[in-house]
């Protein structure tokens, strides 16, 4: 799955193996009526979202539709003004990104959230550092730098990235794509329930994008729930099981990439038609 298939014409992208996802049980992550305002600007005007284990839910929408605000509310980077968030059916309230991380939700932010001056291993383990065993670690709180570098190397290798050699290299010495790889490796290595990726392929070439999409499928196959925010429709249609369309701060419905085409997705995204209207057109035809 590392090769990116680029559909040249609009149309159905038939999945080779339509996968069955159990959506009868409790969602891993569930949001109800999320509202977030910034002064007079409404970021989210009541959004519902359900995410199940083992699925990739894509979030698409025009600029300013509330995609980033939505995922920031899900990952503790923003605190919603109203609404309910449930993790495995239990209500949760994330006050900080740290809270969401501790609950098993990892995020690859669009800004990447890596520290340029620090090395790759330190970035991967930032705020969850591993200390040395014995009194060096417990009394003197000494970091296990070697161990963290070794584990960072494994995490980066698992992504299929060959160009990053030295885990002691400062992140600022890396290219844009390599930095993105570091951020994705961090989320993939630590995510235990949900991994959220905000535009993870925006800065990448064809090969690196393929690697990231492969990672998303690997995480899904491992039973994690993945949220993918992307402007890249072919990428979305390639990996998503369901597509949440965000429009003007509201959820405009959920598309099935096996049922709906990319142009139909764009139609809903821009508000030219609702999902029901699409269904109506189908029924007529």
């Amino acid at each position: 799955m590392t090769m990116l298939s680029t559909p040249t014409e609009a149309g159905h992208m038939e999945k080779k193996n339509p996968r069955q996802i159990d959506r009868t049980g409790t969602p891993v992550l569930e949001a109800k009526g999320l509202v977030k305002t910034f002064g007079h600007v409404v970021g989210l005007a009541g959004v519902d979202l359900e995410l199940y284990a083992g699925e990739v839910l894509a979030v698409i929408g025009d600029n300013g539709a509330g995609k980033s605000t939505l995922i920031q509310c899900l990952t503790g980077a923003l605190v919603p003004d109203q609404g309910e968030l449930r993790l495995d059916g239990r209500p949760v309230a994330f006050k900080r990104p740290q809270d969401a991380r501790e609950a098993g939700i990892e995020t690859v932010y669009q800004s990447l959230a890596v520290i340029p001056a620090l090395d790759i291993a330190t970035n991967l383990f930032l705020a969850r550092e591993v200390r040395r065993r014995g009194p060096l670690g417990t009394v003197f709180r000494m970091l296990d730098k070697k161990g963290m570098r070794r584990r960072a190397e494994t995490a980066v290798r698992e992504l299929g990235v060959q160009t990053i050699q030295n885990m002691g290299q400062a992140v600022e010495t890396l290219s844009g794509g390599q930095r993105q790889a570091v951020a994705v490796a961090r989320a993939a290595a630590f995510g235990s329930r949900v991994v959220v990726l905000d535009e993870p392929t925006a800065a990448l070439g064809v090969k690196e994008s393929g690697q990231v999409l492969g990672t998303i499928e690997r995480l899904r196959d491992a039973g994690l729930a993945v949220i993918l925010i992307s402007h890249n429709m072919p990428h979305v249609w390639q990996v998503a099981d369901r597509i949440h369309v965000q429009r003007l701060g509201r959820g405009a419905g959920v598309l099935d990439p096996r049922m709906h085409t990319m142009p139909e997705g764009v139609t809903v995204m821009t508000g030219a038609a609702t999902i029901d209207e699409l269904a109506g057109v189908r029924a007529d035809a």
């Binding site: 520290i115 003197f140 970091l143």
Partner: protein
Amino acid sequence: MTAQTLTADAVLKRPTTPVQRLQRTLHAHPWISPAVVLVAAYVVFSLLNERFAQPGIQSLLIQQTAVVAALAIGQTLIILTAGIDLSVGAIAILAMMVSAKAAAENGLSGPAALALGLVVGAGAGLLNGVLVTRLSLPPFIVTLGTLSMFTALTLIYTRGTSIQGSVLPDLLNWTGNSFAVGEFRITVGVLLVLGLYAGVGYALSQTAWGQHVYAVGDDPEAARLSGVSARRVLLSVYVVAGVIYAVAAWVLIGRAGAASPNALSDANLASITAVVIGGTSLFGGRGTLIGTLLGALIVQSFTLGLGLARVDEHYRLLAVGALVILAVAADQWIRKARA
């Protein structure tokens, strides 16, 4: 002609120029430039006056450097977080006078007076930290304000009078005790400052807290999203700096043989100078503690070396000023390096 036929790949694989390699090396090891400057200063001043290298003069230089070098540790921590502390001297003097007065006039024992001084330092640092983190005020403004406030409090409390070392408990004077190491004379205060450097240097480079200090200074928002509590890190930095200033004040009592409310009036500029010459970036997130120690030694060796060479004091000021500008210019240039 060949330049036009170069492919992008060839451009990338073009051998680096010596200047680029130098830039990258300095970027990876910011303490190298101050080390080179210090060695050069030692060579030049020894040539100008052979007495400069003598153990007696060198012992003096180290003792004279100790107090500013200690203050500069706290200043380094704060500058690493992209802040600045103008109240460094004011906090040290406030801690020193409270502890000296409590011992001399209220009969507090040495350990109790010392502990009180450390608590005052920590409290003053906490106030700076709270103003910076809770009210989100720029550190420059906060510490400009507390500089005046702490100075005023000290003068009100002491009515401007000094306390002689002879009326203070032995513990407070202990930092002035000296012993011979070969031909050199080292004081307890110097050892204490070196211990501080070792301890804080270890915390910065080997513990999670140290990595968080760098992270918050380099990119606070990325640090927050990575799960680092920027507020807590900043607060801890200001408190630790306050405690270090109080230790520096203790070293000063031993060095001066008295506790004077009018001392350290230019400590903020002196400590910032040491940090900047030591290669720490004023933009935060970059720098080493060893560089700061080298920076403090550079400033003091200029003072002593030019003095021994019978150069006017005003020229020393001129030289140190030029060095500061040079150091910041070098930092700007080094920061552009990409390996």
